[in-house]
Symmetry: C2
Subunit: 154 residues, 2 copies
């Protein structure tokens, strides 16, 4: 079970990957953010076996990333949509997409993330909450936070 | 081989995941960004089998995310360090970490990403290149880009 893979890691990246790190899971979240909702739509987009797709959807619903809702036109059928928790993966997905665009998109970006309504392209920035500077990847460092056992008050 | 897993996907997220989507790979990039450089340091941090670790390091070096450099004190030993390409994963890692912090860090964030030198906490923002607004995840949409075959001039 992937959700125990990173069990020894006290790390929010590891926790996030237990939810969306299994193969195909982030591409499912991507597809849901593009508006795909039906099992067969996901299957067509990803071309994976039904049992794997069912397993991934189940895990994402269980984890709170997707929710199963009745199809508007067929009360006996279900669709999948992103929860607020799932939509909040957008910055991570876009950052990963832009990294892929930069290094692997020889014909240009296959897809552009834009500001709904406005149409402007989106840029992800790291901003310092103290000095308000836009921070380059080279200027990032980390320190232990309150959730690290040694740093946690006993 | 994972680097063929998403072969049919014309998508920069899929391309990125072919490089860093294998289990442990993003945690290796995380560890390298924390300053770990030696094989045994990565092994201690992740607690995985040597052959799996060797395979992941090899793939990341092959892909250009890490580079193997001689150890400063032992010319016959090697260390691993992030390339510029690898450091540019920082926004994606931080976005994933903050998502994990929000949903799974019951004791608070295990680790804080900060602005080197300044010490301020980092926030990732999606900014519209056209209207300069800070864009919420709910206001993100995508459109086909030049790298999508149907959109590519023939």
């Amino acid at each position: 079970m992937l959700n125990r893979t990173y069990d020894t890691q006290i790390c929010s990246i590891a926790r996030a990957l237990e939810v969306v790190g299994e193969r195909w899971s982030l591409l499912l979240v991507r597809d849901a953010s593009f508006g795909l909702r039906r099992f067969h739509q996901f299957q067509q987009s990803l071309g994976i076996a039904r049992n794997i797709l069912a397993d991934r959807l189940h895990h994402l619903v269980d984890s709170g990333v997707l929710e199963r809702v009745p199809a508007p036109d067929h009360a006996d059928r279900f669709e999948y949509q992103l929860t607020a928790m799932g939509r909040e993966l957008a910055p991570a997905l876009i950052a990963l997409m832009h990294w892929g665009d930069r290094y692997f998109a020889e014909h240009g970006p296959p897809r552009i993330a834009e500001h709904a309504g406005c149409g402007g392209e989106l840029v992800e920035q790291l901003v310092c909450a103290k000095c308000a500077a836009v921070v380059d990847s080279d200027q990032v460092q980390t320190r232990p936070g309150p959730g690290l056992p040694a740093a946690r008050p006993s």
